[in-house]
Symmetry: C2
């Protein structure tokens, strides 16, 4: 497994008393992303799958339209730097400003953000459907597959799935980074996302829904709760939102035409 | 209670089958913060306690040194705008840049961030001590007091506490915003923070620890996990970090000289 964690000494208190033991905690590192020589962003993240992070970030934030915009990615883990060479593009001041206000959990743009980001995205026309049983199955899989979370409690996880199985899972200290790494992995490996469902461990805010909309995935299933703004965007763009998903229950918040009572096959 | 939530129709599935009911979900709104007429930040947040949010943000991000830097705050909730008049200060390009890269969950600055932000902060010299029983008690109180979380599952919460009791609790869709609102409330009401403990529902990343360091609180107790970078800063600045806190157990990660076996009185 990649190097997500480090070991430290911790004092534990429980009703049996105090004890000292080694514990595993999650690593956090600042990584600076340069595009064609200009600093675009600094991402505080789990320092693994950095190539995927860079590529996914550039796409899911709307800077890149696809893999064709990418020339090379060089990751210098020791220095905490990722250098991307892109086709004919240097981040402008506007890009920098845009980036700094769009990507964070709980920090984003204003009306501009809805007008600019959402109105440019076409509603999904995916014909994907999932049965109730398939949704319950995938809700259980995210718990099994987020192994860094189980050892540290410090990450969020996201899986890309067909209706039947998990294709890949990524974890990161940041919800957004986990999604970006999954997106980058899919772009780099030619895995389609517009016919797949996203299974997520975190809360569904507007910024997460906009990322999901950019990759044209038609459905997100999350352990967490959606916000009203996220649901407004999901309804506008035809995305099915399922929240509070567990192996035995879930809530459907939008676009339930993709959920069938019986199994598809 | 302020207007954190909205009501929507939701379809619920559980082993008894599908049902339709009204559900309460959390509101999310983008709020633009202007300081002396210049746009400093856009914060996507729970649209309540916006005056507290603005003041706390400006202080805990290091723009303001104290309440004396503040002249007036005007909140226009309908327009989603907060206008702050500050003493002799207009955000510079550097401030804007700094702000955009420091405040987000999972997005921050690089080495500069540690050098600039941490080295300017003096280690805490607080003499606060808490007993094991007091820590367990406060860990239970955060669960009781985060009432928006209990109805929506969509917020993080933070309480300012003495060793004996909770002084105030704030919730927000963003972990950072909840802390900022608490800080703003304390600054506006002259409540000291450097002799109190912070009880938090979320994961402890470096950016949360830097906010705690700026308000000079000597101890944070969280339900969540700390990262290695957060612990590095906490050790450097003398902050006691307690994680995975529940009403019957907790882990001590740093500066355990503030934890006593017996009750203080």
């Amino acid at each position: 497994m990649p190097d997500y964690t480090t070991s430290i000494e911790v004092k534990r208190y429980n009703r049996s008393g105090l004890s000292v033991s080694q514990d595993v905690i999650i690593k956090e590192r600042p990584i600076t992303l340069f595009v064609n020589g200009r600093e675009l962003a600094v991402v505080v993240c789990s320092p693994v799958y950095l190539k995927e992070l860079a590529v996914g970030f550039l796409f899911s934030e709307g800077f890149f339209q696809g893999k064709e915009d990418l020339r090379t990615v060089i990751v210098d883990e020791k220095e905490g730097v990722i250098r991307v060479e892109a086709e004919d593009w240097i981040p402008s001041d506007e890009n920098l400003r845009k980036r700094y206000v769009t990507t964070c959990s709980g920090r984003g743009k204003t009306t501009l953000y809805l007008v600019d980001d959402v109105l440019k995205i076409k509603p999904t026309d995916s014909s994907l459907v999932l049965s109730i049983e398939e949704i319950l199955y995938l809700s259980g899989e995210i718990e099994k597959n987020t192994i860094v979370f189980r050892s540290t409690g410090g990450t969020h996880g996201v899986s890309l799935c067909t209706s039947k199985e998990v294709i890949c899972t990524f974890e990161d200290i940041g919800r957004h980074n986990a999604v970006d790494k999954m997106v980058g992995h899919c772009l780099l490996n030619g895995i389609s996302m517009d016919d797949k469902v996203i299974v997520f461990s975190g809360r569904i805010s507007s910024e997460i829904i906009i990322k999901i909309a950019r990759i044209k995935s038609p459905m997100i299933i999350s352990r967490g709760a959606p916000t009203d703004m996220a649901l407004g965007i999901a309804k506008q763009l035809g995305i099915t939102v399922i929240g509070f998903a567990r192996p035995d229950k879930f809530n459907i918040y939008s676009n339930d035409q993709r959920i069938t009572i019986g199994k598809s096959n």
